[in-house]
Amino acid sequence: MLNMTVFLGYPFTVINLFRSQEIPGRMFVVLVLHPLLMEYLMHGYRSRTGETTNFLGDRVKVEPVRDLGGVFVVESYLVLVRRIMLCNLGSFQATTIAIIITGIEETLIRSTIEQRDIMYHKHYLERPPSTPEEMATLKEVWAAAILHSMIAETSAIFISTLLFVLYADHRMIFDLGYKDDFSPVDNSVMFLQMLLEVSE
């Protein structure tokens, strides 16, 4: 249900808010609002560790890599949306700055996943401190989440570039960051932008 809400609600809220703004507003959405929403969702998903209910109603153990597949759908969507928004800020300088800030942000987010999740469990969910067994499960969940994040981020860089190039002829339909003067695709700028994103 939450997945469908994100998929259906995002285009009509955050993305339209993004598209209706000038460059500063767009930067705020892509650098502050979107990461906050995304991390909040990811926190919620990651907190569902331990046991879960299968389709037959039985209580079964969570196997993170397999059972976080639903999270991967949402994460890959949100990551790709962010990549497209980054290319769609309306200014190459703004995009460059945003890519650098995004890199720093992701480094911080990824390196503090353990501390943030423990704080989230303690203060928000008000759970007791984890037992060693629960901690082992949590570590498996973090490993699976990081693995999914790696794949989603790498793929999003290439997919967003691919979409931009493939849909250059359909730029009136897809607002993927094309210039408003209808000039042909500036491949050197695109290439440099992608290198920046990959290098982060």
């Binding site: 285009p11 890599v65 990824r110």
Partner: protein, 315 residues
């Protein structure tokens, strides 16, 4: 939409739309998809991304977050297919989310020229041309586009197929590379243990026991829970035991002693491969205590294997 646009911009020049041409993808206009570009530019970039991720993974493993272990659980093609499908699915949704035509949330009109100029800035040159009554012609690299032709561009299926293939190959390359790293690491650790065992001239039973332990501790292939169902001496399954539930974990549980029962006599009497060695007493018996200096996954595996090995040798 087409008729409305034609009536609003009556003097607008209509042109034939070219269908999507696969050959044009490999033309100089699309260097990102040129095979040579892929070979000499995209490949190294992908490699650099893998290097960055590998470095991060190494740091995470220091915190005992075993990302490579998670990769080791990807042992079935269904994973690759589901991940590629997920990326394709999310790409389609993301692309649709940035479609300009139906998303008129901030605009009650179906005419983009009446909408927020920031949200529909791509249309502004055309809208200005319509307003001023002048001709509007937009020439792009392979076709012309105007408002009246928005819904008649074709070839999206070809684009989707190309995208799906690229995504599938990409996911396969990433997973294969990471799995290869994981397998090499496991092979190295196992080889070192084999060499250590050969040097100690163990009996076949002891070699078999340690081999069982190693296969249990390096259990990256089995990912189902609680199949063997062995229990610890208290008769209660713990989370890890239920998942792994075989010889090594149960044997380790039987050998576990309470920290409170140990009385330290003299610290740092020596230094071993895993860390410092202390002199202590346990239930009145003089014992040597090994304290791990660095708690890595490999260290723990080797340490646990040594505990089991030593317990057999002493008997």
């Amino acid at each position: 939409m087409s008729e409305r646009a034609a009536s609003e911009g009556g003097n607008k020049k209509q042109k034939n739309i070219q269908p999507f041409n696969l050959a044009s993808v490999f033309s100089p206009n699309y260097p990102l998809l040129n095979p040579l570009f892929f070979s000499f530019f995209l490949g190294p970039q992908l490699f650099s991304e893998l290097c960055v991720d590998s470095i991060c993974t190494y740091v995470e493993m220091k915190n005992d977050i075993d990302v490579l272990g998670a990769i080791g659980k990807v042992d079935h093609p269904i994973f690759l297919i589901s991940w590629a499908s997920t990326l394709l699915f999310s790409s389609a949704f993301a692309l649709n989310a940035f479609k300009t035509v139906p998303n008129f949330v901030f605009c009650s009109s179906h005419n983009p020229c009446d909408c927020n100029p920031n949200a529909f800035r791509l249309y502004q040159p055309m809208c200005e041309a319509i307003e001023s009554g002048s001709n509007f012609t937009q020439v792009s690299d392979s076709s012309s586009t105007n408002l009246g032709e928005l819904v008649v561009v074709g070839g999206n299926m070809t684009t989707v197929i190309i995208g799906a293939l690229v995504v599938f190959v990409m996911v396969a390359i990433i997973c294969t590379s990471l799995t290869w790293i994981q397998r090499r690491k496991e092979k190295k650790v196992f080889g070192e243990m084999q060499m250590a065992l050969q040097a100690k001239e163990l009996t076949p039973e002891q070699v078999k026991l340690v081999a069982n332990v190693m296969s249990d501790l390096d259990d990256s292939k089995r990912r189902t829970f609680g199949k063997s169902g062995e229990i610890n001496p208290k008769g209660k399954k713990t989370g890890i035991e239920e998942r792994r539930g075989s010889v090594g974990t149960v044997a380790i549980a039987r050998l576990r002693i309470k920290y409170e029962d140990i009385k330290m006599v003299k610290a740092n009497i020596g230094r071993g491969a895993f860390g410092d060695v202390h002199k202590a007493t346990w239930n009145g018996v003089e014992v040597a205590i090994k304290q791990l200096a660095n708690v890595y996954i490999e260290t723990m595996r080797s340490f646990r294997a040594e505990i089991l090995l030593m317990s057999q040798v002493s008997e």
